[in-house]
Amino acid sequence: MLNITQEDLANKLSVTRQTINAIENNKYNPTLELAMKMSKFLNVPVETLFILE
């Protein structure tokens, strides 16, 4: 497990905490740029984070 809060992640990626929350709750589709940044920061392939529905 990553010990990181939504707020830390948001700050690292220069987005709002509310954006991270909305992505986790499937209420917002991030831009490609943010998706790539997340995958890079969490060191996992982007397909692990997001799936095409």
């Binding site: 707020e7 700050n11 990626l13 220069s14 987005v15 509310q18 954006t19 917002y28 831009t31």
Partner: protein
């Protein structure tokens, strides 16, 4: 006719307005990029506001109106125009400070592109900080549009049809910020209150005219 003679003394103030608006809206985003953001949702009200993407039309039409309006307000008289101009600049300044002190954010809905209005709404979302919607409180859209109406309100040398249309248009733009989910209700109310209060004070003491006309005591 309304546009027969363009008042040239409004050109420089209009440019100042554009610069101030961009500095306080986009400039502050460079500073508050890493600030914590606040969410001013009033769940009891905001969750009942429906998503009506058709209103994006009014949201977009506000852009040309903003920069035409100074020339229309300039047709009333110089006293009114300079007071209007100064009040608007003061409001931008206050908004800019607010964006730095309490940057607020919104959670936008996911919209499928079913018609041209959905597409336009998604386009605006994409162009206006998609992953970090910010600088919402008070709403610039409502503030500037309300100013465009206030500048001609009770000005009898502006044709009645335009004054009525300006009121309707300002209301439609204010509603559009809610229906396309670009702002919460708090942003709308605060913007109208701020613009009314500042315009009232500047007008009462005639600060704008005293400052910009070069005449020390204004018209009194």
């Amino acid at each position: 006719m309304l546009f027969k003679k363009i008042p040239k003394y409004a050109i420089v103030p209009t440019l100042v307005i554009i610069i101030m608006q961009f500095l306080t809206y986009f400039g502050t985003q460079f500073i508050n990029r890493h600030f914590n953001t606040y969410d001013f949702t009033l769940n009891s009200i905001d969750s009942y506001v429906p998503l009506i993407t058709f209103f994006i039309i009014f949201y977009i039409l506000s852009y040309p109106w903003w920069y035409i309006s100074p020339f229309i307000v300039a047709k009333t008289n110089k006293i009114n125009f300079y007071n209007w101009f100064l009040a608007l600049i003061i409001c931008f300044f206050i908004c800019g400070l607010t964006f730095l002190i309490i940057p607020t954010t919104i959670t936008r809905p996911v919209i499928e592109n079913n018609n041209v209005f959905d597409w336009l709404t998604n386009f605006i979302y994409l162009k206006d900080n998609p992953d970090r919607p910010i600088n919402l409180f008070p709403s610039y859209h409502v503030l500037f549009s309300w100013f465009c109406y206030m500048g001609v309100r009770k000005q009898t040398n502006i044709k009645l049809w335009y004054r009525i249309s300006a009121l309707i248009f300002a209301i439609l733009i204010s509603l559009s910020t809610q229906f396309v989910k670009q702002h919460y209700i708090v942003d709308l109310v605060s913007a109208i209150l701020l613009s009314e209060v500042i315009y009232f004070i500047v007008k009462k003491y005639n600060w704008g005219y005293k400052l910009m006309s070069g005449e020390k005591y204004g018209y009194k």
